[in-house]
Amino acid sequence: MTNAQLEIQLIAALVAVACAIPGVFLVLRKMAMISDAISHSILVGIVVGFFITQDLNSPLLILLAAVTGVVTVILVEFIQKTGLVKEDTAIGLVFPALFSIGVILIAKHANDVHLDIDAVLLGELAFAPFDHLIVGDTDIGPKSLWVIGTILVINLTLLILFFKELKLSTFDKGLAATLGFSPLLLHYGLMTVSSVTIVGAFDAVGAVLVVALIIAPPATAYLLTDDLKKMLLLSCFFGIFAAISGYWVANALDASIAGSMTTMLGVVFLLVYLFAPKQGVFSVFYKERQQRIEVSLLVFLLHLQNHQEKEERHVNHLQEHINWEKVKAKTVLELATKNNLIHISENIVSLTEKGQEFTDEALKYITTNKETAIEELKDRFFLFRG
């Protein structure tokens, strides 16, 4: 591994972590798409800043671009407040207009600007190691490493300082406001931090892929945990993983680093989306099926309890009576037998003592409807689940 390769991976990982921190809060506050708007509209700020400073890594340019990001948010909120269009339409109107202005500015001044449109969308991570910062006579490493490193330190500091406030205002705005944390201040603070981070990352990974780094790691982490701190850590982990694995995929395919980082994020998300233990598609599907069968079982047991006469409890009759398909009836019967809730003799089904007890308690639960007792009930009586 060469020095340049190491530097690229380091920059990519730092960008990923810096993006994941505000990203977690944006996703939780249902404002994920605002990052899309900011990442597009800062182009205007970058272009104008570039005209002034002639340097893509100048602090002034980053500041100007970040201001454009905040202005975008304010503009979107102003349009939303007029009530002329629905909320998301406001976002959809503002950023393409600003982005168009940026694109036109670049195209009109193509000759005297070192910005090109591909770089805007893709970033220039591969070239980052060639642009070193020289202080005095000593080379202190790539410029973008310093830029994104500074932003990351700022983000981390603010996160630690305002963790409590951010957490509270994210999950309970009303309570945060009554306790005296200004929601407005926190909101615009978060927007400013997001803008600055997006500007810093923009240079490395481009406009659209910043959005991936902001949204995908927190969204993936959110499917795995309910704990804010764990979510932050997991997001950072996914970001770093995507950065490093993405780099090597890009290396193997000789393709865009930013593109393959995003693709790795996509792969991670897909895996979690399918296989996450609680929120994943398969486990939700399995859980729903289980619950359906268990509800059927309960209905079946109640039916047995209500009917003492033999003809009502005949195996074949049950199928017709409760109107179940054969497979379903069989599954329910099997589950009930396995859990020792019923016994079948000469094709007549009757409740066992345990079954009787369970049915009584379940009936009591249903009539009084206490919150989660039924799960506890099931845990107590069932050896096997549906």
Binding site: A32, M33, T89, L121, V208, L265
Partner: protein, 371 residues
């Protein structure tokens, strides 16, 4: 460039016609997206269609616009239905799902595009133009395809007009009436995907969503009637296309897509400000007028309370005594005098017969309102 170029220059005529038809169909279908609160879905779909284009090229190895469109269509549809299933199956919210699919698909698309660029037959692909669109590459055949799609979607729209309208404004009621809302939802979403895919070549992936939204958002300001809104949106869309093409053709180095988007944005801005019923300008004017009238009435009732104490209602009083009352200004007095509700003589004012009756009736009305 001369105006006559539009009629003599074949390429320009094709492009103008193409962007006009595109604007029209986007306006038409965009109305549904805007009203269903799916404005950003268009953004996600257009980005999600990028890998489809790249995969179509990788599989077939030939440069064929229509093949690319099919690829874009398939991957756009996959993206759309994935978004819907994320929202339905997980705890992730709509905005997160949109942003996820948008950026992840786009990233995959970029990976594939840069991968293709390294392939031996890549320079023929010209896939870059799908990012920002190149209206200049439109040929007559493309315009025919667009026109055909517009025709088909118009027919479907008219066939399912009643159902779609109902679905827009009351989805639950639609369901209880026995309509297949799932089918209608898929129908309208699919048409939106088709419209977006059609525009990719002209406006590009990044700006396509604005093409869909802006005409509809502008049209919404002028009417409360769905039919009128759709027609207006189509007209705004078509004009954005025509003006945008004209402006970008009149100068060098001005790509068509962004200019069209800016023209459409200008339509939105004008509509926001000048629409008579909802517009910001008239809203502000109405607001001011109401406030002024309220001031007049407040002053008049105050005068009435003073005048009531006297036998002669037109007994003059000093203007000075009005001073501790906020609604009073010199202008208010002039206004009241113009309406012959009071008389002003030097430093004195007096209610006229008309003014007294007016104020009295106001009091009666206020009294009954309170009861």
């Amino acid at each position: 460039m001369e105006l006559t170029d539009f009629f003599t220059n074949y390429t320009l005529r094709t492009i103008t016609l193409g962007t006009a038809v595109l604007g029209a169909i986007c306006g038409m279908l965009g109305s549904f997206a805007v009203l269903r609160k799916q404005s950003l879905l268009g953004d996600a779909i257009s980005h999600a269609s990028l890998p489809g284009i790249a995969i179509a090229f990788i599989i077939t190895g030939v440069k064929n616009e229509h093949l690319f469109l099919v690829g874009a269509l398939i991957s756009g549809l996959i993206g759309t239905f994935w978004i819907k299933s994320i929202v339905k199956r997980t705890r992730l919210k709509n905005d997160t799902a949109l942003g996820l699919i948008l950026s992840l698909f786009f990233g995959l698309g970029m990976l594939l595009l840069t991968f293709i660029q390294k392939m031996p037959n890549a320079n023929q692909a010209g896939l870059d133009k799908y990012l920002f669109g190149q209206a200049a590459t439109l040929v007559e055949e493309d315009v025919w395809v667009m026109a055909a799609v517009t025709g088909v979607s118009l027919i479907v729209l008219l066939l399912f007009w009643k159902e779609l309208k109902l679905l827009l404004f009351d989805p639950d009621y639609t369901k209880t009436l026995g309509f297949n809302t799932r089918f209608l939802d898929i129908l309208i979403t699919s048409f939106i995907v088709v419209a977006i895919v059609l525009g990719l070549q002209t406006v590009g992936v990044v700006l396509m969503s604005a093409m869909l939204l802006a005409p509809a958002a502008a049209a919404r300001q002028w009417t409360n009637n769905l039919g009128v809104m759709i027609v207006l949106a189509s007209i705004f869309g078509a004009f954005s296309g025509v003006f945008g093409t004209a402006i970008s053709a009149s100068q060098d180095n001005l790509s068509t897509g962004p200019v069209i988007v800016l023209v459409a944005a200008a339509f939105v801005l004008l509509s926001f400000i000048f629409s008579p019923r909802r517009g910001l300008l008239f809203r502000e004017l109405r607001f001011r007028k109401n406030r002024r009238e309220l001031h007049l009435k407040k002053t008049l009732t105050f005068m009435y309370r003073i005048a009531k104490e006297h036998d002669n209602i037109s007994h003059p009083h000093a203007i000075r005594i009005l001073n501790n009352f906020q609604g009073f200004t010199r202008k208010t007095l002039t206004k009241l005098e113009e309406q012959h509700l009071i008389r002003v003589e030097g430093n004195q004012w007096a209610l006229t017969e008309k003014g007294f009756q007016e104020a009295e009736s106001m009091y009666v009305k206020m009294g009954t309102d309170h009861d």
